[in-house]
C-alpha cells in the first residue's frame, strides 16, 4: 500500500494538484497563441480542454472506489478534481464561444438548440455550475443532506460528458469508447457498492469518520 502522506502536507498537496491541473490548459494556450499548434489550432485547444474536463470528471468519480477497493484515501483531492473539471468545461465553452465562433451568438444559440451533442454538452456545463458554487465547507454545512443529493448530479454530468464526446466525432473510435467505458464502470459501481460493503463488513470495520463520509 502507499505510504500515507503526513498530515502537515495535505493542504500543500491539494494546492499542488490545482497548480498541476491547470498546466495542460496553460501549455495548450501558450502553444496555440504562439502558433505552435498544427493544423486547426482553435479546434485542437478546444478538444484538449474538453478531454481534460472528462479526465478530471473520471478522476473525481474514481475517488470513492479507490478508497473502497484499494484502501487509498484520496478524498481530500476530490473537491479539487471536481472543480478542475468545472474550470476545464468553462474554458472549453469559452474557447468555442470566443475563439471558434467569434461570439456569433445566433450561431451559438442555433448550435445549442439544434445539435443534440451540443445541447447535451451545454446541459452538463449548466449542471456543473451549482456544484462548483457549493464546493465549499460553508455550503456543505448549510445544505446538509441536500448537499449530498445535489452533488449526485455529477453522475449525470459525467455520463453527459462522455456522450457529448462520442456524439461529436464522425466515427466513434477507441478514445471516446474508452471514456464511455470508464464512466459506465464508475457509475455502475455506485448501485453495487452497498452490496460490496455489506459483504466486506462481516469482520466489522470501524465506522467512517464524519469527515470521510461520501456520497
Amino acid at each position: 500500500m502507499l505510504p500515507a502522506l503526513p498530515r502537515k502536507y495535505h493542504a500543500a498537496s491539494i494546492w499542488l494538484l490545482y497548480a498541476a491541473g491547470f498546466v495542460p490548459a496553460a501549455y495548450g494556450f501558450w502553444l496555440g497563441a504562439t502558433g505552435r499548434l498544427p493544423g486547426n489550432p482553435v479546434k485542437e485547444f478546444e478538444h484538449l480542454l474538453g478531454l481534460w474536463a472528462l479526465r478530471f470528471l473520471v478522476a473525481t468519480l474514481a475517488i470513492t472506489p479507490l478508497r473502497d477497493l484499494l484502501g487509498i484515501n484520496w478524498i481530500r483531492y476530490r473537491r479539487a478534481l471536481g472543480l478542475l473539471a468545472f474550470w476545464y468545461v468553462l474554458m472549453h465553452f469559452l474557447t468555442y464561444m470566443v475563439l471558434d465562433q467569434y461570439l456569433n451568438f445566433s450561431a451559438i444559440l442555433v448550435d445549442i438548440v439544434r445539435r443534440p451533442f451540443i445541447t447535451i454538452g451545454m446541459g452538463a456545463f449548466v449542471m456543473l455550475i451549482p456544484l462548483a458554487l457549493t464546493s465549499n465547507n460553508w455550503s456543505i454545512r448549510r445544505l446538509g443532506p441536500r448537499w449530498v443529493k445535489l452533488h449526485k448530479l455529477v453522475y449525470i454530468i459525467a455520463a453527459a460528458g462522455a456522450l457529448h464526446f462520442a456524439m461529436s466525432v464522425k466515427v466513434v473510435g477507441l478514445e471516446p469508447w474508452t471514456y464511455i467505458a470508464l464512466v459506465a464502470v464508475l457509475l455502475a459501481y455506485r448501485p453495487i457498492r452497498p452490496m460490496l460493503r455489506g459483504r466486506k463488513r462481516r469482520p466489522p470495520e470501524p465506522a467512517l469518520r464524519e469527515s470521510e463520509r461520501s456520497a
Binding site: 496555440g32 497563441a33 504562439t34 502558433g35 499548434l37 498544427p38 493544423g39 486547426n40 489550432p41 482553435v42 479546434k43 485547444f45 475563439l99 471558434d100 465562433q101 467569434y102 450561431a107 442555433v110 448550435d111 439544434r114 445539435r115 451533442f117 456524439m167 461529436s168 466525432v169 464522425k170 466515427v171 473510435g173 477507441l174
Partner: protein, 270 residues
C-alpha cells in the same frame, strides 16, 4: 516526393496557398487512423509504386493503366479551394489531369451514367484497415455522375506542391472535385468503373443522414451536427487571426458547375 513536370492552368484561384506543411500533415485518411496527424505518422510503410488503376464497366475499351502511363498524361497545375465537410478549408496547388481525359481513353458506352471509384485495401500497409477497431467498411468507395466526372474541374491528382503525392495525401493517384466536400476526393485509387446505377459511397453508407451522394459544398444546408455557413481556413492566423470565413455555394465554383444541378432540390440531394 519527386518533382513533376506540369503546365499552367487557367483553373487557379487567386488566394493565399495553405502552407505545404499543413497540406501534408493535417489530413483525413481513415485507412491510416482517425486523427488528423495519423495519416502522416502511420503511412511510411505504404508502397505507392508499382501501381495500376483498372478502368472497366460500361466502356468500349476497358484497360488497366500503369502509373507511368498516368504520370505521362499532360499534367496541369490546379490551385483549388478544398472544403472539408468538417467546416475547415485549404487552398491547395494540385498537379493532375482532367478525369475526362482518362475516361476518353476507355470510351464510355451510351448507357454509362455514373463513375464508381475504389481505394486500395492493404491492411498490412494501412493500419486503419486492420486490428479490432475498424472505423469504416473497406474498400473506401465513392462515385460521381458521369457529367460531373466529365466536368473540366474534376481531376485526378498525382501531385501536390509540384511533387508526387505524399502517402498521406492519397498517393499515387486521387480524385479532386473542388466544388464538393473533401470526402468525395477518394484517395489511392485502384479501380474506376462506369455504371448505369448510382454507386455507393462510403460516408453515405456510414451515416446517410449526414453525408449525401452529391456532397456539393452548400452553406445553406447544415450538417446535422454543425453549421456549414462558414469555414476555418487552415494555416492562417492561429488563435487570433480572422480565419473563419463564409462558405460559398459550390465552394466558389458555382459559375462553372451550378448548371449541372439545375432543377434539382439541393436540400434533398445534399
Amino acid at each position: 516526393g519527386e518533382a513533376l513536370k506540369s503546365s499552367k492552368s487557367p483553373y487557379t484561384v487567386n488566394e493565399k496557398l495553405t502552407p505545404e506543411k499543413d497540406v501534408t500533415s493535417y489530413n483525413n485518411f481513415y485507412e491510416f487512423g482517425l486523427g488528423k496527424g495519423d495519416p502522416a505518422a502511420n503511412s511510411e510503410n505504404f508502397k505507392p509504386t508499382p501501381w495500376t488503376v483498372k478502368v472497366d464497366g460500361l466502356v468500349g475499351k476497358p484497360k488497366e493503366f500503369g502509373l507511368e502511363e498516368l504520370l505521362a498524361m499532360p499534367l496541369e497545375d490546379r490551385v483549388y479551394r478544398m472544403r472539408c465537410v468538417e467546416a475547415w478549408s485549404m487552398v491547395i496547388p494540385w498537379v493532375g489531369f482532367p478525369l475526362s481525359a482518362l475516361l476518353d481513353k476507355v470510351e464510355p458506352l451510351g448507357d454509362a451514367k455514373y463513375v464508381a471509384f475504389e481505394t486500395v485495401v492493404r491492411p498490412e500497409e494501412m493500419p486503419g484497415q486492420s486490428g479490432y477497431f475498424q472505423s469504416l467498411p473497406w474498400p473506401y468507395v465513392e462515385g460521381l455522375r458521369l457529367d460531373e466526372a466529365r466536368h473540366p474541374l474534376a481531376i485526378l491528382a498525382v501531385g501536390v506542391y509540384g511533387k508526387t503525392l505524399p502517402n498521406q495525401n492519397g498517393a499515387p493517384i486521387r480524385l479532386v472535385v473542388p466544388w464538393k466536400y473533401g470526402f468525395k476526393g477518394i484517395k489511392s485509387i485502384v479501380k474506376i468503373t462506369l455504371t448505369d446505377k448510382q454507386p455507393p459511397s462510403t460516408w453515405n453508407i456510414s451515416a446517410p443522414n449526414e453525408y449525401g451522394f452529391y456532397a456539393n459544398v452548400n452553406p445553406e444546408v447544415d450538417h446535422p451536427r454543425w453549421s456549414q455557413a462558414s469555414e476555418n481556413r487552415i494555416g492562417e492566423g492561429g488563435f487570433f487571426g480572422a480565419n473563419r470565413q463564409p462558405t460559398l455555394p459550390f465552394n466558389g465554383y458555382a459559375d462553372e458547375v451550378a448548371s449541372l444541378y439545375s432543377g434539382m432540390d439541393l436540400r434533398a440531394n445534399y
